[in-house]
Symmetry: C2
Subunit: 258 residues, 2 copies
Amino acid sequence: MPNELVWDRPEPPSKPSPTPLSRDLIVNAAIRLADEGGLDEVSLRKVAAALNAGPMRLYGYIETKDELLDLMVDEVYREITPPRPSVGWRTGLRHVAHGIRDAAKRHEWFIDLLSPRPHQGPHSLAHIEATLATVQFEDIDQVLSAVGAVMAYVYGAVRGEITELRAERSTGMTEEQWQRASGPYMERMLATGRFPTLARVMYESSDRDPAQVFDEGLDYVLDGIAARHDTTRKHIPGSKPGGSASAPSAPSPAPAGR
Amino acid sequence: MPNELVWDRPEPPSKPSPTPLSRDLIVNAAIRLADEGGLDEVSLRKVAAALNAGPMRLYGYIETKDELLDLMVDEVYREITPPRPSVGWRTGLRHVAHGIRDAAKRHEWFIDLLSPRPHQGPHSLAHIEATLATVQFEDIDQVLSAVGAVMAYVYGAVRGEITELRAERSTGMTEEQWQRASGPYMERMLATGRFPTLARVMYESSDRDPAQVFDEGLDYVLDGIAARHDTTRKHIPGSKPGGSASAPSAPSPAPAGR
DNA sequence: TATCGCTCGATACACTGTATCGCTATAAGA
DNA sequence: TCTTATAGCGATACAGTGTATCGAGCGATA
């Protein structure tokens, strides 16, 4: 039958791409794609294509796409240097906060993947271990509470920054421009007079350095924690640990410079 | 030809479903689907099917799927009762925090849609207007900073709760069970001894009421704000907004990696 | 009654994640 | 060296997704 076509077979199927391949190669390729074109660019077909492989090949190294995403998250955690254990809780938590924020700025997709699933990868665990270890309150519940609050704030703040950043990019304007010019829609809304405070915010607020705003919010949280759990207060002068406060038997909160 | 099939045409195309349809109907149908089966259940085909309509019909009322998602978010904002303007910033912000948390508990998909895009719907704007209005610091930047920090915390905390809740549901275990039994994986990890603090958290921490934990974290933030901006302090006794208390003008000591 | 316009939705397209399974290139056995 | 078993690869297929296109049918107007 198709014998006559035998001669122009497109290629000897031998070896157009016998690249060895490995989990790390796959994860790194996926990260590169995500960094360049966003999470949408990470499809099994595209990742495979970037490695000169067919889509199904990946399933030899990866169970499902979600697993790939988990691995990407853990890889980012790997690049975040954990706090050294001796630095004291406040410095430690601040370090962690900045580490995550910086990582999220490098990999804008990071924050999108953080939420869906709890991170159980080895580097994630190491990072959270180091984080917890810097907070040496005597009551473990206090530790959890403090770290949890800081992480919640960091997560929300970073998410907000990234969201805003994307919005600016998609409209091609800075946020200030956007708020003042944003289509006729926003102006019409504000012109109704139903949102006076909002209008004041838009027109009167100075657009401050995002990093500074982030730190200010972070300080709120840290101050709040200090006021309740820490005996070696730093930012809030004169306030005493409210009545029921903990006993000062903390092991060694010593600031331990660096 | 197919003339003989004419007799069992599925329907006279006249009017199997001339339901009037409207944006609200569509949005409500989508919300119902999302409440029952999660965001995955919200596809244009399924929403349309729930309204006895073809998928393309929706495009008469909606520009794109993202617009539908925006409308869903705004609809949820509508059910959140805004704070009354007179209540004072602390009560007001706490009210807002609980309002969002409760809404996110009613509609688990809500938090997933909050992030991606800034909310510009009328109810979203009304809600944020009311929120800002309760915080009457003299400096508008202080207002923004305070509200922003609280919202960031709320967002992160709620996201964490929902994530945890889903994880529990998918494994069919409570978090405590999950942490202690979670597959052999977690146990093996903890058994390595590389995560002593984490292990302590898992085994020694009491699993507290989530609402209480949420409030505790919220109080950290509110206390921190009060310490800096409010003259009518409530929770932290004795501390004055003394000039020197303000943010560390020196850009954080940054223990930076190395 | 004839025509216009509009609204509807069937069809199609490009894309997704993944199950199935035949092919092929290699390793083992005789 | 020749044959056979094994394993990995990836073409194909399937059920979805959001949306562009466009022909068909209806109601209202001339």
